[in-house]
């Protein structure tokens, strides 16, 4: 009798816990996702905070809208649009900060700006330098590309958002 009572009590306890588990697991998963979003947002906010007090121009690139801004401190210097290649892996480069790793002067003003292996910026999609083949290229209008090319130095920062 005692044994049966104990077994029944245990079973009842497990049943209550079993009911709560899916809800707790769902909450955990939702909270982790929210934290990840908030951390990404914080990273961008901290980037802006740093750039507001830095004496250098920088880019904000919105890959969802395919628009960009050249900025200096709080001020927008230039708005531009860009095209991404059809076969761009995923939605574009990962959200976050990138460094302008290389400025390369091309023939007939076909200059390029490389942001590591993430992507290169150019104004004509057909002229990917051999050593940069395989790196996705985003293309801008010539006028915009040249303005950005001369406005930024190697080491300048860009921030990718989606």
């Amino acid at each position: 009798m005692v044994l049966s009572a104990l077994i029944l009590m245990g079973a009842a306890g497990r049943e209550i816990a079993g009911d709560e588990r899916p809800s707790l697991e769902a909450q955990t998963s939702a909270l982790r996702e929210k934290i990840s979003t908030l951390e990404r947002e914080q990273d961008f906010l901290l980037f802006q905070k740093a750039m507001y007090s830095t004496d250098s121009k920088y880019l904000i690139l919105n890959f969802a809208r395919r628009t960009g801004q050249l900025k200096y401190k709080t001020r927008v210097l230039m708005d531009f649009r860009f095209k991404t290649p059809g076969k761009y892996p995923g939605r574009g480069p990962q959200m976050g900060m990138l460094v302008l790793s290389k400025k390369k002067e091309g023939k007939d003003d076909q200059h390029t700006l490389a942001f590591g292996r993430s992507f290169i910026m150019q104004w004509k999609q057909t002229v990917v330098p051999a050593e940069e083949s395989g790196i996705p290229a985003i293309s801008l209008q010539k006028k915009d590309m040249l303005s950005i090319y001369y406005a930024l130095e190697e080491g300048a920062l860009a921030y990718v958002i989606h």
Partner: protein, 220 residues
Amino acid sequence: MYSSHPRVFACLSVSLVLSLLVAFEAFSISWAGTTSLPPSIEELRSQVAALQQQTADLEEENRGLRRYLAAQEDSHMYIVVDTESNRLLLRRGNIVLRTAVCGTGSRHFIESETGTNWFFETPMGSFTVLGKERNPVWIRPDWSYVEENMPVPAENDPDRLVRGVLGKYALLLGNGYKIHGTKWTNLLGTHFTHGCISLGDDDLEIVYKSARIGTKVYLY
């Protein structure tokens, strides 16, 4: 002998149940020791509480950062000059109030017989409107004479004062650099000036009337 059977049976049954309980407990302990074991309800509850706290902390930090960034921004009008494409923008934050075609430094180099040289480039960086002039007078600098192979007059020579060539208005940026008008309107959109920023009459009037002393000018 037969009468003892029920007792033996009872003893065996109790032993069997006890053995099963011990085995079950041992299995439970060994299962709890592995990583694949799902967390207990208590662990899940405390995990949720910790994640809720972390979420609240992050939300508060982000609110603070957004407030800080908003406080840094202002709603003042400012001027941007793109010296590569020869465009001047009158902006307020994300809004472009006016786009104008302008002229900027020719990037030419000249040298006088005495060895003094000049490079006609529009300076880059952050500037401030330091003064505003109506009907500005151009004080011809030395290079203007050198450029035309003319003898350079004395510093205070009245011949240096020229009226009308800078248009109706000028915004002074310091070190002799200005945003002013030009009679060479056909060259707007190219690099043709000696370093100043030239505008057509209509654009100049709007830029002049919109700008205040202290207005920021960004040249890149």
